[in-house]
Amino acid sequence: MSGQQHARPAPVGGSLFNATTLVCGVLIAVMATIILVRLIFGLGATTNLNDGYSWGAWVVVDVFIGSALACGGFSVALLVYIFNKGQYHPLVRPALLGSLFGYTLAGAAITFDLGRWWNFWHIFWPGYFNVNSVMFEVAACITLYIIVMWIEFSPVFLEKLGLHDARRKLGKLLFFFIALGIVLPMMHQASLGTMLVVMGGQVNALWQTPMQPLIYLLSAIILGYGVVLFESCVAASAYRRQVEVSMLNPMARVMLGIMAFYLLVRFADLIARGVLGQAFQPSFIALAFWIENACFIAPFLLIRTVDARRNPARLFLAGIAVMLGGILLRLNGFLIAFDTGPGWTYFPSVPELLVTIGIFAAEVLGYIVITRRFPVLPRAESYARPARS
């Protein structure tokens, strides 16, 4: 494993009980209560979903956005294993941890959004397979990926538990799961875009395009890097460590390159379909379109030069901008510019929002617990010493 050449990851350590974990715990408890109410009394009792908007915050935010934000592991693995850029290896585990939580909770969230949730196993039962359905593709693929990610991440637990023999055996097979862990997200992140395509005319022309699978895939990769930027900066601030600028700087450059390609595809598609004019109409939808794309353009202003990329504050803001752009791309397509006919409206209810907030709180809490207790983040001493010297 190339990981052996780098600083070995180590647990951050420290107390698990502080203001952040307490707030997260409360938010998770609130979420659990609402989910219990939802499971017993149904979607109507908790959400603002209706026949016009059968997908709301839980699907769009928790699953579409949640899984896209969880692409850090995939994006970094793509860089490390496919393009053989071993210097980024210390970023793999933290990125994978974010992905693990993002996807696992997205998978759980979709269960709560099923009207008849007790039938959730149908999608895994061969007799119920609808192999022509894009939803089936997404569900099967995401489930597989969650399993694959837990296997990919399991060395962390094996190391912690001291099961070195099992760790070594797994290490020999891991390449297979790593390969799967790159293929599967490419499949379902593109399929999530296909879901928008199958929505047909209900989706605004600025987002309804057969190119959507490519756009979603590219944006998911970009988002992966954006999240790594964000996560590294936040983790460094929270744990009072040095930001891994030496790795983030070139990685951000890769991100900018992919983002330039993304914007090229996005606008070339709009021009080719002749709908770019709609973006210049004085409408709320056009405004949403420009805010979304401004978020993708902003990093070019923030971290264009090597010097600018050396500033963690700029990397952090660029990461946020990219994340916002990816979030808005999905929100716009599936909710804001999604028109199912006159009279239908949707805005998430308070319980819906609290569940979504609770899901993110669970991710934060999980990240804190695992990084403090398991070897995920790179050992701080190896490069953070200058801060103390």
């Binding site: 900066c233 308070v350 929002l353 190896s382 490069y383």
Partner: protein, 405 residues
């Protein structure tokens, strides 16, 4: 019967004469015959037989008795317009005795009845309208000194067929509801044998007419069910062909008269509509020749089940006049589910004060936290830059060292 092609009859003089007699254009007359044949459920070609029979056969003699009733059945027949049925009653059949329609009175009209019975012995149709009182020797209804029982038995003795028109004659109907002081009964009970019944309050005139035309064409009554009702008219539940059936299936019900569901034309089942347990062709044939919706349920009133045998209040097995209007029908073919979708489809609520403020609070907190993190990162970067500017390049060395490990 030989001819099975209606169009070939167009030029026949008998048809022309018959159409002149009943006062309708020839083409319309043939259409009427075809409609009757179709209404009876007869095979293709039978319409020609019907037309020939109506045009050429001797008009059957009909004796029409009235007993305990409101004359609604006769009134209903007089309102039929295809053709105007009073013309048909007077011209297609030979109505030799009818207490309501006869201009004559007293001994003169009773003599007409006796003459017709003698002349058409074994060939006339007896139609009975109204229930027959049986208590105290039947003294509660007398015509020309004879009780209803005596009249019915006398006229039925030599009749080719007996038709009980309306619910009263069929099985007692409204006069027989509890406490039934006169012991009202149907014709079949009095005669002690089954008769053809055309129940309804009033019955649809075309059901009666088609039965008569069938008798005229084929010399026999059409197939009857176990209650004596012609199957062509009474073999389907009202529920099956009801125009409001889709509302039943979707669970959209009027809950009380005049409520939103009632005004929108929803299903009347929960107002006590007996359509799900009543066999009749009301929703398809309609009443009064006035177009769509002209039947009780179409007008917004639940079916009272008048074509089903009702035997008075307190005897729950009856439907018509037996079961109160507000009581739910026993659905004979489809049991309704326990739960239905909502009648009013909610189209979603926009942002509420709570949800919008919660979202704004979260966004604000995130933005604030983000700004603080960015500021701190910027400050520490500035400090580091300043330190590096002061001289020491320690950080670069460490980074290189880290790369080499």
């Amino acid at each position: 019967m030989a001819n099975t092609r209606l169009l070939q009859l167009e030029d026949e003089t008998t048809i022309a004469d018959a159409s002149k007699r009943v006062g309708m254009p020839r083409r319309e007359f043939l259409q009427f015959c075809a409609t009757v044949a179709a209404g009876l459920g007869l095979p293709p070609g039978a319409e020609a037989a019907v037309a020939e029979a109506v045009a050429s056969k001797k008009r059957p003699s009909v004796i029409w008795l009235h007993f305990q009733e409101c004359t609604g059945c006769t009134e209903s027949l007089l309102r039929a317009e295809h053709p105007t049925l009073e013309r048909l009653i007077l011209d297609v059949i030979s109505l030799d005795y009818h207490e309501t329609l006869f201009a004559a009175a007293g001994h003169q009209v009773e003599q007409a009845r006796k003459t017709a019975m003698t002349e058409n012995r074994g060939a006339y149709l007896l139609v009975v309208e109204g229930a027959i009182p049986t208590r105290d020797g039947g003294i509660y209804c007398k015509v020309g000194g004879q009780t209803a029982i005596e009249l019915t038995k006398e006229c039925a003795a030599d009749a080719a067929a007996v038709i009980a028109i309306g619910s009263c004659a069929s099985w007692g109907g409204m006069p027989s509801t509890a406490p039934n002081p006169t012991g009202s009964s149907g014709v079949a009970d009095v005669l002690g044998k089954p008769v053809a019944t055309i129940p309804g309050c009033p019955p649809n005139p075309y059901n009666f007419l088609a039965t008569v035309v069938h008798f005229l064409t084929f010399g026999a009554l059409p197939p009857l069910d176990d209650l004596g009702r012609p199957k062509f008219a009474y073999s389907r539940l009202i529920h099956e062909n009801c125009e409001r059936r889709a509302h039943f299936d979707a669970g959209r019900f009027a809950m009380q008269f005049g409520d939103e569901g009632h005004r929108k034309g929803y299903c009347l089942y929960k107002l006590g509509c007996k359509g799900p347990e009543t066999y009749a062709n009301c929703p398809t044939v309609l009443f009064g020749d006035a177009g769509a919706g002209t039947w009780p349920v179409g007008c917004g009133h639940p079916c009272i089940g008048c074509t089903e045998q009702g035997v008075g209040f307190g005897k729950p097995q009856g439907v018509g006049f037996g079961k109160p209007i507000h009581m739910l029908a026993k659905v004979k073919n489809v049991e309704p589910p326990q739960q239905y979708p909502r009648i009013v489809e909610e189209q979603g609520v926009g942002a509420t004060l709570g949800s919008a403020s919660l979202l704004a609070a979260v966004a604000g907190a995130a933005a604030g936290a983000g700004a603080m993190v960015a500021r701190n990162l910027g400050l520490s970067h500035q400090a580091e830059e300043a330190r590096r500017a002061r001289g020491a390049g320690g950080k670069t060395e460490v980074r290189d060292a880290y790369r080499d490990t």
